[in-house]
């Protein structure tokens, strides 16, 4: 006890001095480049910035950033992107929180209702209209240099942020799904390269069926897995303006497309995941422990290659989806937007960070490291992307890919769509009945 008492004040003193010194060093290191550089931070709110002399060091701020990056993507964010950002903006600390993808939309709503929102979030682009309608998000049209972001971004991904006359976010990354073939099973079916048309694919699938294997894998009847096949086979969901489904979802071409998919399933050409069976798509394509591969192809995004890396580089072929009756394939557009919350504490700093994330340099970096397709037009043309062997096919597929119906009711619309297809596949309804009913229900949800 006595020893502690005698030592304690001295120890505290030493610690205190050390802290002061260290803090001072830290500040010096941090501030010097900032002071040298242009007026730091994006001066969004000009009233605040103008009176302050440009030389005065900006106040340190912390930006809360929610995202659901995968493990590899988060590593790039933490080890490369944020350090680069802090070189330019040392006063802005990015507090990134990796959220679970399961039930994330509920967490966002709960956080918003409870006033515990972050400043900025990387959000699935189909959620934006719904969250905007609920009043969770800020419109970004008046943010500084917003028009520059619009000019630099691809139109499709940009449009996912539009709701009721305003933009509620900016596109961070985009993606689509292509066909991924197993070289081994492709050879077993008697082909050396990826089939160009749906008909070729079907005949390969018939050959594989004789060996008890599957040539076509559709991940499920849902709104993410089914549309690439439905669209490619000639189906449509709504008119171009997304106002009505009747006459489109239940048009003759749409019914024929669904009938074709159902006939594949009846014939045993579709792998079990179409109705939730096992093994899953990746396991079936690559083979599980002790079980050989049984699926010749799946339809998936660039993360397949970025996550599995060298393990699939020599065994899998990335290829465009086989083309349908119109001579093209129509895959689906996915992606993530950066959105800003009502009640954000640091919207300006968050916007600065977002502009940085959308810059050509970072977009190229993320594309190379994670396979995320840039939304920045210049970044998408960068030479550096050519080094990533699978990206070419994705960028090519993007040209004819289509977006899911944007709507605040996107969730319900997706459910109605998925249920109609599941019903037809399970023979609970004919394709025509299922699509007629779904069209009526979706009409009501689009109003």
């Amino acid at each position: 006890m006595r020893i502690t008492k005698r030592w304690l004040p001295k120890l505290l003193l030493v610690l205190l001095i050390a802290t002061v010194f260290l803090a001072a060093c830290g500040n010096n290191e941090g501030n010097t480049p900032a002071a040298e550089e242009k007026p730091v931070a994006a001066p969004v709110d000009k009233k605040e910035v103008e009176p302050a002399p440009a030389a005065e060091p900006p106040k340190p701020v912390t930006v809360e950033f929610w995202h659901a990056f995968g493990e590899g993507e988060e590593k790039v964010l933490l080890e490369e992107v944020i350090p680069k950002f802090n070189e330019q903006y040392p006063h802005i600390t990015i507090q990134g929180t990796r959220m679970p993808t399961e039930n994330l939309d509920q967490q966002v709503i709960t956080a918003a209702a409870g006033g515990a929102v972050p400043d900025v979030m990387r959000m699935d682009n189909t959620w934006v209209p719904r969250m905007a309608k609920e009043g969770v998000l800020q419109a970004v049209d008046n943010f500084a240099d917003f028009n520059k972001v619009v000019a630099d971004s691809f139109d499709g991904p940009m449009a996912t942020n539009y709701y009721n006359g305003n933009y509620y976010g900016v596109p961070l990354d985009t993606n689509t799904k292509i066909a991924i073939y197993s070289k081994e099973l492709l050879a077993e079916a008697g082909a050396t390269e990826a089939p160009k048309t749906i008909d070729e694919l079907v005949s390969l699938a018939r050959k594989l069926k004789e060996n008890g294997k599957f040539g076509i894998t559709i991940g499920g009847p849902d709104f993410w897995n089914m549309p690439p096949w439905f669209w490619t086979l000639g189906g449509t969901i709504t008119d171009d303006k997304y106002t009505v489904a009747t006459g489109h979802l239940n048009s003759e071409a749409s019914i024929k497309a669904l009938e074709t998919i159902v006939s594949w399933n009846d014939e045993g050409l579709l792998a079990p995941p179409i109705l939730g069976g096992q093994p899953g798509t990746w396991e079936g394509l690559r083979g599980e422990e002790g079980k050989p591969a049984s699926y010749m192809m799946i339809n998936d995004g660039p993360w397949f290659f970025s996550i599995l890396g060298d393990a699939v580089k020599d065994t899998m072929i990335p290829a465009k989806m086989p083309s349908g009756p119109d001579g093209k394939s129509h895959s689906i557009i996915g992606g993530q937007d950066m959105v800003f919350f009502n009640g954000a504490k640091q919207p300006e700093a968050a916007w600065t960070f977002t502009q940085f994330m959308l810059s050509e340099e970072i977009q190229v970096l993320m594309a190379i490291k994670t396979g995320a397709i840039p939304t920045n037009k210049n970044a998408a043309q960068a030479d550096a992307l050519k080094d990533v062997y699978y990206l070419d096919e994705y960028v090519a597929e993007m040209e004819t890919a289509m977006a899911r119906t944007p709507s605040p009711n996107a969730n319900q619309i997706g459910d109605v769509f998925g249920k109609a297809f599941e019903k037809a596949l399970r023979k609970d309804a004919t394709p025509k009945e299922a699509l007629d009913q779904a069209a009526t229900e979706i009409d009501a949800l689009l109003k």
Binding site: N103, D105, Q106, I109, A112, A113, R130, E134, G135, V136, P272, L275, G276, G277, Q278, P279, N342, N409, N411, Q412, K419, E422, K423, R426, D428
Partner: protein, 298 residues
């Protein structure tokens, strides 16, 4: 009189605490829930909510999935309540037999599911009943006992999926019923059994004529709790089938949750929950009336 008031003042703070808690955590949410059910409710900006009158309730009666969910909810109660009760009392009786050894061990084994997390056991059952030959149950049926040629897609069909949910719920609930009855059995005077034995009554008859009647208050308590629990079942369906395939295994609770937290249609979800609340009230109230009144005296 004066004394009564004085006593009342003395206990008032304690009563008030409980009353305030009940107001905040029970009454207020209850009233607010009913209030929300009349609106197209916006959680973030409640002031922008749109008054709909009875529209949400009318929608409840016209929604085909409500009837499927109601069917599943009632079936769930009809299947799991009697089974939990029967197995629970059986296990309690057997464990209570004089010649059974390691009583503590058996009590523990049967009670373990009760204290396990719903989330853990739900995922456990999902793996046990996985489709294809990768599921343990399918492996046993097809490869081990050769009872079937093809694995069963347990979770892809309405009824097989419901069976999985019921099995889990019964298995998890039996232990609680057992503990309740084991406790109640301790209170039955041994002399009654001895007297019955002298009169020549044996096993089954003593059970029907002595044990069961004396257990009556406990039976009422257990049944009411099981029924309320059955109507409140949620996690097992939410985690195992998510209401699928084709929304055919939804319970009213999971369907309500879907509307509230996936579609953000809080008004409709509140209307469903009010109807569910009424249903539970009707069921349990009529029961209270029918067998809650008698008291047993030895």
């Amino acid at each position: 009189m004066n004394k009564a008031i004085k006593q009342y003042v003395q206990v008032a703070p304690y009563l008030a605490l409980g009353f305030i808690m009940t107001c905040i955590f029970v009454l207020y949410p209850l009233i607010k829930g009913v209030y929300i059910s009349f609106f197209e409710y916006k959680v973030i900006n409640p002031s922008q909510s749109l008054f709909l009158g009875w529209a949400n309730y009318i929608k409840v009666f016209h929604d085909p999935i409500i009837y499927i969910a109601l069917r599943n909810t009632l079936l769930f109660a009809l299947v799991t309540v009697p089974l939990q009760w029967a197995f629970g009392i059986l296990v309690a009786m057997v464990i209570n037999l004089q010649f059974i050894r390691f009583k503590v061990f058996f009590r523990l084994v049967y009670y373990l599911p009760v204290i396990s997390s719903w989330i853990v056991v739900s995922y456990l059952f999902q793996f046990l009943f996985a489709d294809g030959s990768s599921g343990v149950v399918n492996y046993l049926l097809v490869d081990f006992f050769h009872l079937r040629d093809e694995p069963i897609a347990w979770l892809q069909n309405t009824w097989s999926a419901n069976i999985v949910i019921w099995l889990l719920s019964v298995w998890k609930g039996v232990g609680w019923v057992m503990i309740m009855y084991l406790a109640a059995l301790q209170s039955v005077p041994r002399s009654l059994y001895e007297a019955a034995a002298i009169d020549g009554a044996k096993g089954a008859r003593t059970f029907i004529h002595i044990t069961l009647p004396l257990m009556r208050p406990m039976t009422v308590y257990v049944l009411i709790n099981l029924i309320i629990g059955a109507f409140q079942a949620f996690i097992q369906v939410f985690l195992i089938t998510k209401g699928g395939p084709l929304d055919s295994t939804h319970l009213l609770n999971t369907y309500m949750f879907k509307h509230a937290f996936q579609y953000f249609d809080f008004g409709y979800a509140a209307a469903i929950s009010v109807m569910l609340g009424l249903l539970i009230f009707i069921f349990t109230y009529s029961q209270q009336r029918t067998f809650g009144k008698d008291r047993i005296e030895y």
